[in-house]
């Protein structure tokens, strides 16, 4: 029988952030994209005590994991990112764009932890809409846009709305 989840509480920033957490690849890596965003609550207020974690394939669609036998991995690519939100609710991740994996459009899996969240919520960042992607296709078309990152000068913006108008689509694993 499995262990229950509990909230990270208001003081997660003591234990979870790493100095190099947001840099999935080192600063200055050619082709790197900066993903920025803000986490909002149901009143539209920024959430200053959340933590974002990302997990993704490398640009060739490979995972750094024994269950993906597909090929060698890039050097200096951790595949995992972690960033606490600032007082203004913002986070950032510096990474390389994920490659496509068989049958799925490129995407980044995201966990959101926060005070007031008794379990993480899971969402996905897509860098572009793709009607052929089976997960996007399974989502209410009116809500699909919440999974698509918006291009910026040096990367993408992906805001996360925990509740209410334009609530982000969250997934059940």
């Amino acid at each position: 029988m499995t262990t229950p989840s509990q909230t990270v509480g208001p003081f997660l920033s003591i234990g979870l952030p790493w100095p190099d957490g947001p840099t999935v690849v080192p600063e200055g890596t050619p082709g790197a994209i900066r993903i920025v965003g803000t986490v909002y609550d149901g009143a539209g207020q920024p959430v200053p005590d959340a933590l974002i974690e990302t997990w993704q394939a490398d640009p060739d669609g490979h995972f750094d994991h024994p269950d993906d036998p597909s090929g060698p991995l890039r050097k200096d690519f951790r595949a995992f990112g972690r960033c606490p939100t600032e007082p203004d609710g913002s986070y950032w991740i510096l990474t390389l764009p994920p490659g496509a994996i068989p049958g799925q459009a490129p995407h980044i899996d995201v966990s959101v932890f926060a005070r007031g969240l008794l379990n993480r919520v899971v969402t996905r960042i897509y860098l572009a809409d793709d009607p052929a992607d089976p997960v996007l296709a399974s989502v209410d078309p009116a809500r699909r846009h919440t999974l698509i990152a918006q291009p910026t000068e040096d990367g993408y913006r992906f805001d996360i709305r925990l509740q209410g108008e334009n609530e982000t689509v969250f997934f059940d694993l």
Binding site: M1, T2, T3, P4, S5, Q6, T7, V8, G9, P10, F11, L12, S13, I14, G15, L16, W18, D41, G42, A43, V47, W55, A57, F63, D64, H65, D67, D68, F80, I101, P102, G103, Q104, H107, D109, S111, A114, R115, G116, L117, L118, N119, R120, V121, V122, P134, V135, S138, V139, R143, L162, Q163, G164, E167, T168, V169, F170, F171, D172, L173
Partner: protein, 234 residues
């Protein structure tokens, strides 16, 4: 493919007794995400994440922290009983007086200059981990009138896949504050709730040195049927 947790294991995100859930729980039903490559893989974080003495929270300063020295140990397993070896375990906690070393913790119990309350370690080949720390104190919070959190240590574990990621809290046996705590009681199944409570472990106490508690963490287990075929089908 990782099996689902039994109903009643995890707290509903909308748990009105814990007031901070009110504006932070999604109001829409989650969409089912089939477990594919991204979900059955996950970060395997190793030694590069550890510093010296990271598993001894009493040894981070020139002096020793106040409070009851304890050893907290246990195993990281999956629901099939298979140990999760060489896997990162992160903890954070309040000091002996229930005060966190955090700018936003202002309750009038002193900060301990010799205690940061942060630890990390890796599980060994059998999935075992050990920390040396101080028994945290209970602390008040603003959720309801005269609200107190039972003493707890926050735990963060990764397992082997994105699907197994878990953050929880470890509690101590027979805490009189359990009854009034909406976070502990947010877990619907009382048997699941009990799995968050550590056991006093006389066998791991150290004479003239430390008391001991054991706490196993159990993550979602893999389905016995091969999942590779399912992935290749796509």
């Amino acid at each position: 493919m990782y099996l689902r947790d039994a109903p009643g294991t995890h707290p509903p995100l909308d748990s009105p007794a814990y007031k901070s859930t009110a504006l932070r729980h999604p109001s829409q039903r989650p969409v089912l995400l089939p477990q594919k490559l991204t979900e059955i893989t996950g970060p395997l974080l190793g030694e590069g994440r550890l510093g010296p003495n990271d598993n001894d929270l009493t040894a981070h300063h020139a002096g020793e922290p106040q409070g009851q020295r304890i050893i907290v140990h246990g195993r990281l397993l999956d629901d099939n009983g298979i140990p999760v070896s060489n896997s990162l375990v992160e903890i954070w906690q309040a000091n002996a007086g229930g005060r966190y070393k955090h700018v936003r913790d202002r309750w009038p119990s002193p900060v301990d200059p010799y205690f940061d309350g942060v630890g990390r370690t890796l599980t060994d080949a059998e999935g075992r981990y050990t920390f040396t720390t101080i028994k945290p104190g209970a602390y008040p919070w603003q959720n309801h009138d005269n609200a107190w959190r039972p003493a707890h240590i926050h735990f963060s574990v990764f397992g082997r896949s994105f699907t197994q990621r878990l953050v929880t809290q470890m509690y101590f046996p027979d805490d009189p504050l359990f009854g009034q705590d909406p976070i502990f009681n947010s877990v619907p199944d009382p048997a699941a709730r009990a799995r968050m409570i550590s056991s006093f472990d006389m066998s791991r106490t150290v004479a003239n040195w430390a008391l001991a508690y054991s706490f196993d963490i159990v993550l979602r287990g893999r389905d016995a049927t091969p999942f590779e075929e399912e992935v290749d089908d796509e």
